[in-house]
Amino acid sequence: MTETVFFYCFAALAVAGAILTVTMRNAVHCAISLIASLGGVAGLYLMLHAEFLFAVQIVLYIGGIMVLFLFVIMLVNLEAAARERQFHRSWVGGLLCAGGTGAMLAWFWLRGAGTLRLPPAVQPTPREGGNVESLAMVLFRDYLVPFELASLLLLVAIVGGVMMAKKRI
């Protein structure tokens, strides 16, 4: 009962934020709405026992990426950008495409909900500790190569970002 109520609260926050992100005219308002939406999804992560990702969502997405977005909005000329047209001329077509995709997915779900056969939940060997501890063992043992490659990706991000932005100085 309480779980359902909280699901509705967080889902409402996430969807309302997402809708405002798409409809607001001012880019700063869009970013703030997106932060609200990400916060709602973070609450859902906590309900799904994903404590580590909840923290990552707040620290990395809201505290890192969205701050980057706000910096860029501040760096470009806001007055000139706000005067430009914000919505595409054929926005009805875009909405129809997106709505069609949504209807298709909903139809699949309605028709195929009963046929979805998930493999039975494997009972992992009981590890002491919580989400972060079990995630650490999987990340540093089974996902060793992706972990090392992530550092390479971040290196490329540093080089690319600094090179692109440095040109302007």
């Binding site: 798409v22 869009c30 999804v41 997405y61 302007r168």
Partner: protein
């Protein structure tokens, strides 16, 4: 038509998370198609990534495995790298063209 007792079920079923994920994804896709401002289009991409992350974690919770968490984590890491480089490209485009409209940026060379 589900009755009130079903809507206030004791445990949230997996399908609700998947439907929420679809709704968020479709809103992001709609924004991607109808907005003209590059920065807002980029934000809609983040919205879609986030919707997919939610379904990963819902499945991971259902299957009692942490692999889904790791996929989502890597999606976030890639999103951070992508945002750093993508926003720098947007800055360069804005410097060269003095516009943020995606339709104005239609040729590769100035």
């Amino acid at each position: 038509m589900p009755d009130l007792a079903q809507l206030l079920a004791a445990e949230v079923p997996l399908s609700w998370y998947l439907i929420l994920s679809v709704i968020l994804f479709v809103i992001g896709a709609a924004g991607f198609l109808i907005r003209r401002n590059i920065i807002t289009v980029f934000m809609c991409i983040e919205l879609m990534l986030n919707a997919v992350n939610l379904s990963f974690i819902a499945f991971s919770h259902k299957l009692k495995m942490v692999d889904g968490h790791i996929y989502s984590f890597f999606v976030m890491v890639v999103a951070a790298a992508e945002a750093a480089v993508g926003l720098a490209i947007i800055l360069t485009v804005f410097k060269n063209r003095e516009t943020l409209e995606i339709d104005e940026v239609s040729s590769l060379k100035l």
